[in-house]
Amino acid sequence: MNGTCQDNTVALWDAHASRKEAFEEIVKRHMKDAYLIALGLVGNREDALELSQEAFSRAYEHYDQLQSKGRFFPWFYQILRNLCFSHLRKRRVRRASSLDDTQCGCPEPEDRDCFDPEVVAERNEAKDRIWKAMSRLDDKHREVIILRHFRNMSYDEMAKVLFCNRGTVTSRLFYARQQLKEILEHQRGAPDACEAGEPEKGGQTL
């Protein structure tokens, strides 16, 4: 992920005679990041693929708006996150108005959204718990966790794509991790049944 925010796509655009060819290269360069970020935000493969492709399609339509900004990914990220958040809102409205929660295919009706546990690689109980806890985070808090832990972005890169300063990134990460910690502790019930690991010193209760 490192370097994603530094891409100067204007130069790339100028280097290609055809707009289509230039955009194809941009898409190929960023498609994995776009898909995996969308997957972290919306929680299942089909939606992540749809939304990331739709984001590229919208970016192509509005590419002229980017010219003055010079960098593609932070701008594109705004389109992607808005699409994902809007999708999540609609999904919640649909679920709230549906009398039968089982219709959405979630393994557990109390799950806040349709977050598919199968998207996690080399699954085990601990990873499933983390992923389930993440699905319960607020969208903005889940977002910073995804960018930091799953896409390995630095604070500066996160500040660029979120259009905020480092201080906001730091405090959002603090509250996200605090919330995640509380959800995990709440999920566990028992005070110290740490995930298949050795008991921690200093009263850790995760």
Binding site: K28, M31, S57, I130, Q204
Partner: protein, 148 residues
């Protein structure tokens, strides 16, 4: 500095995002603050757990077809825009032409002509009224951003 101030540095410390001076200051604080030390240990454990989670990457086939799917969307979007603009323009033009023909046609009775004009006028008024009402309420809806 209070523990709260140091908590703001804690995340950056955990993620190795502090400069040398900030890191030293934070470690000095940690040495004399068991609460922050305990909290840091909890966050470190959480970070380890979160870092251990990774997503399954889709098969190569998905990446091979990715650009094709994006391009199809772009193409379809352009197609829909052209189709919609042309359809609206043709409907408006055709509608006016039809009304003109009906009015100019001497074989159609006056009552029919007046009735048709009244029907179209009423439809236009209803459309504008509903549209205005929607825009008015939407712009003043305090709850429009509230999530259910």
């Amino acid at each position: 500095m209070t523990c709260q101030d140091h908590r703001d540095l804690m995340m950056a410390y955990l993620d190795n995002e502090l400069n040398e001076e900030q890191r030293r200051a934070f470690e000095e604080h940690l040495a004399g603050c068991p609460d922050c030390t305990r909290e840091l240990a909890q966050f470190r454990k959480l970070k380890q757990m979160t870092d251990s989670v990774a997503f399954v990457e889709p098969e190569d086939r998905v990446w091979d077809q990715y650009w094709g799917n994006v391009y199809n969307r772009i193409e379809r979007c352009t197609g829909w825009i052209l189709f919609s603009v042309a359809a609206i323009a043709l409907l408006i033009y055709g509608g006016f032409a039809a009304i003109e023909n009906i009015i100019a046609d001497p074989t159609i009775g006056m009552l029919m002509k007046v009735g048709l004009l009244a029907l179209l006028g009423g439809l236009a008024i209803l459309f504008v009224s509903v549209l205005r009402e929607r825009v008015f309420f939407w712009s003043r809806d305090r709850y429009r951003d509230v999530r259910r």
